[in-house]
């Protein structure tokens, strides 16, 4: 649990830096969505942010490879369907765990609180159905 809190504090610091310097919400789905159809003078910071995430991933892979051990009975096709749902749903709902869950709730945004509550409920239902159909997660 202590690692979870330390990680959370780092995430809180990261999104605060983004707001303090760039005045932006660190919503990962929104930042990615803005790369797909970029507006004028609004592309590079997004690419650099995603680059930072990936670079962080490579550092973790080097220093803490256990962070990427995946235990799941999901099949390749599950990842495909889930990917499409996550991509479509986050843009339709204007945010994901970072934008709504962390940034929005910190701002006490009613939209974000409702969205976070909604995706957690549907996530719980999804896991429940997955377990019923496949027998295990």
């Amino acid at each position: 649990m202590i690692n979870a809190i330390i990680g959370g504090v780092l995430i809180g610091l990261a999104v605060s830096l983004m707001l303090l310097f760039n005045g932006r919400v660190t919503g990962i789905s929104g930042i990615l969505g803005g790369i797909i159809r970029p507006q004028k003078n609004d592309l590079y910071w997004r690419v650099f942010f995603i680059g930072g995430l990936l670079f962080g991933g490579f550092i973790l892979q080097y220093l803490r490879p256990t962070a990427f051990i995946q235990l799941s009975s999901a099949l390749r096709v599950d990842y495909m369907i889930a990917g499409i749902l996550v991509g479509f749903g986050t843009l339709l709902g204007n945010g994901c765990t970072s934008g709504h869950g962390v940034c929005g709730i910190s701002r006490l945004s009613v939209r974000s609180i409702v969205a976070t509550f909604t995706f957690i409920i549907f996530g719980i239902i999804s896991v429940l159905i997955f377990k019923l159909v496949r027998g295990s997660l």
Partner: protein, 138 residues
């Protein structure tokens, strides 16, 4: 300079996700598995992040502008519409299905895990689909 900040933010964010265990699908799905072997570490991550950011937000919002931009780019909408609820619901189903959301997915691509790389590729397809029909559902 804004690009450099964005890169550093991404880097710290990735470290936070990795250290907290959120780059592992079983930890995320373990949180959603409330009727099974519940793993509540996601609450610790959210609580830590929201606690820190709430305090910073309180002070940062008193400023007239961010340090490197002329204005803040914050959402102003307050209405609860069907897109918000439906989108969050669809995202939630996908999130539980694979145990991956956009941030941890991008970070975990660095491990070379093909399932996750394919997840992100299809996530981009889903985003592209939305962009295609965006104007029709406004």
């Amino acid at each position: 300079m804004k690009n450099f900040i964005a890169f550093i933010v991404g880097l710290i964010f990735a470290m936070g996700l990795g250290i907290s265990g959120m780059t592992q699908t079983q930890v995320v799905r373990g949180f959603l598995d409330v009727f099974g072997d519940w793993n509540y570490s996601l609450i610790g991550v959210m609580a830590g992040a929201i606690f820190i950011h709430s305090i910073f937000f309180y002070f940062i919002k008193k400023k007239s502008s961010p340090l490197l931009d002329s204005k803040f780019h914050l959402p102003t909408r307050k209405d609860l519409d069907w897109r918000l609820i439906t989108g969050a619901g669809i995202f939630g189903i996908g999130w539980g299905w694979a145990g991956i959301c956009p941030g941890p997915g991008i970070v975990a691509m660095a491990s070379g895990n093909m399932d996750i790389i394919i997840f992100i590729a299809f996530m981009l397809v889903g985003m592209g689909l939305f962009k295609l029909i965006e104007n029709k559902i406004k």
